[in-house]
């Protein structure tokens, strides 16, 4: 009897062991054929997490980078939201974070006092937010301007045939339909960009509500994530919400054009987003360029930043110099060769000015005082 009991467990144990070794064995065997021993020793897993919006780009970069490095470096990126990205970056459980809302001055100061170095916000790609709606009989291209959008979100315009909307859309046949406002219920970089646009164009919004990854909405229903907002919009005739452009395109949602600060009506596009970022950037690139002064720029757009510590050895998640070096190399690759993937995946290319700023920051990245960022840039003939 006792023996049987033990048998039961050893069976479970052995099954587990077999599964374990089978899984690991497979990965190893596959690599044996084309990897040299030396390369296998320097194989590295990089771990990043954060904003969901740039996830398709970063993971596609990871796929590509794995091929480029011949299976040596694998970048594992998990999309947990901008808020989560910042949080785990501060907790030092990930090697790099991604966020659509740059680090606040408080967090920057905290990190500086804790690690003796700065945290860098490096723009990797651009995020654009479009007004998505469900107006029966009307396809994409309802024109909005700043006042109309703010009025809708402050419940001052409550019907689609409001004269203010009709004035901007003389050629559209807008029905008499009450407007349902939809917003994000979770903390989100998309909300940050959307509300920062409202704050820039309306003093009243700035004073009463302000901007951030989540705000105290005056009206509307909440949806969790891009998909939650999209679901609510698509199922509610008369609804208006906001989604990233890529998301709206992927899901065939109708979205509006927006009149920018120069008075031009801009159709959201990757080119118009890149154009919007074509402004004077501060050194640390911590800037919001919603309501951009750029003439052809789409006004509701922002950067998605990669978060990296200046002193990499201070980040608990990075264990050795190899990992630090590979992280910086991936970073350099992602703002240069990696950008080639952008358009195909529905992302706006990083403007030249932002790439230049990134180089300046990478130069300051260190491992135990060794300026590995500078060395790696030099190796790639970028100075």
């Amino acid at each position: 009897m006792k023996i049987n009991f033990i048998k039961t467990f050893s069976l479970i144990l052995v099954t587990g062991m077999i599964l374990l070794t089978a899984g690991c064995g497979e990965g190893r065997e596959k690599d044996d054929s084309d990897d040299t021993k030396k390369e296998r020793k320097s194989r590295v897993d990089l771990l990043g997490a954060g904003a969901s919006f740039p996830a398709p780009l970063i993971t596609a970069m990871a796929d590509e980078y794995r091929d480029v490095t011949r299976n040596r470096v694998v970048v594992n990126y998990q999309s947990i939201g901008s808020g989560g990205g910042i949080r785990q970056f501060v907790e030092q459980t990930i090697m790099f974070g991604m966020t659509e809302a740059f680090l606040s001055d408080e967090i920057m100061a905290d990190i500086e006092s804790q690690t003796g170095g700065r945290a860098f916000n490096m723009p990797i790609t651009l995020a654009d937010v479009v007004a998505t709606y469900n107006v029966p009989g009307v396809d994409k291209g309802i024109v909005f301007d700043a006042d109309v959008l703010v009025d809708i979100y402050m419940e001052r315009i409550t019907n689609w045939n409001d004269p203010k909307i009709e004035k901007l859309n003389p050629d559209k046949d807008l029905p008499s339909l009450p407007i349902t406002v939809v917003h994000r219920s979770d903390g989100s970089g998309t909300t940050n960009i959307w509300t920062s646009y409202f704050s820039r164009v309306s003093d009243e919004w700035k004073a009463k509500i302000g901007y951030g990854t989540s705000v105290n909405w005056p009206t509307g229903v909440g949806g969790n994530g891009n998909e939650g907002v999209a679901g609510a919009v698509m199922n509610t005739p008369g609804a208006i919400g906001y989604n990233s452009l890529t998301y709206a395109l992927l899901n065939d949602m109708s979205f509006g054009y927006v009149k920018n600060s120069s008075g031009n009506i801009i159709e959201p596009s990757y080119a118009a987003t890149t154009e919007a970022a074509n402004i004077d950037l501060p050194e640390d690139t911590r800037v919001l360029f919603t309501n951009t002064p750029a003439e052809k720029g789409y006004p509701i757009a922002g950067f998605a930043w990669m978060l990296v510590y200046e002193n990499l050895e201070q980040n608990n998640a990075i264990n050795n110099r190899t990992e630090a070096k590979e992280l910086v190399e991936f970073l350099i690759w992602s703002i240069t060769d990696g950008q080639e993937l952008s358009e195909e995946l529905g992302f706006a290319r990083l403007p030249e000015a932002a790439v230049e700023r990134n180089y300046e920051m990478i130069k300051q990245v260190k491992w135990r005082g060794e300026e590995i960022g500078k060395e790696l840039l030099k190796k790639k003939n970028i100075s």
């Binding site: 064995g25 998990q78 459980t93 999209a230 998640a317």
Partner: protein, 290 residues
Amino acid sequence: MIKPKKTLKQRNIKDRFMVSLLVLSTVVVLVPLLIIIAYVIINGVSALNWEFFTEELGSPSRAMQGRPTGLIHTMIGTAVVDFLALIISIPVGLGAGIMLSEYPDHKLNPYLRIINDTLNGMPAILKGLLAFALIVKPMGTFSGLSGGFALAFVMIPIIARSTESALMSIPWTIREAGLAIGLPRWRVVMSTIVPAAKTGLVTGFLIAFARAAGEAAPLMFTSFGNNYFPRHWTGMIFGPVDTLPQRLYSLAISPYKEWHAMGWAAGIVLLFFVIAIFFTARLLTRKKVY
């Protein structure tokens, strides 16, 4: 002659009526289960192909452009994390269960029982946070090990409870018999009570295991997820690793149709994983030796 109030026929009718009520309630219990299984299979079967079992996930563009993508790393990861959880929780849960049942007058027992019940009722996500604070933070990285601990926190109270009730079902006379031939108390427990309660114990382990195998919340900030196999096999234990419930969740909330289908397919795999566990359990415990 007094006419009986109820004829035999009437009694039979009543009996059949009651039985049919029981059958009905069984059906009511089974139907949702069958609907779930059918629904998951109908939605997920289109994404089940050879590559699903041989490739790693990678980026969503792989699925959208029809390049090979799959969840092999997720399936192996699930097996590793669940196995870790099992070997962590069985000794602890078994110990606590033996303590509760075999040493009922031990002065720590009331507290143990309260703590165990509290742990059982605690939301699973808090167990994940506990593992995050105890293991992820000090180690500086998400890991399969921390995921195993988080799931073990889910399993321990269930195992302790089921162990206790399995051991209690063994008559006291057996213990007395053991003591009467001069065995020490621990030997009585290990050599007679535990083997006799084998079926109940293993069933308990597997119920706990199946419950933990479906948990996504405790794994979000412990095993964290991975789009690939780790570069080295130790990465399965000491690095972030993918698990089916959590990957299912992230596939389901993604904006891509192809990933939704893969999410359903992951559901099928998870379902059959759990069913296979129960089936194995039945096979292992069917033969009664005593």
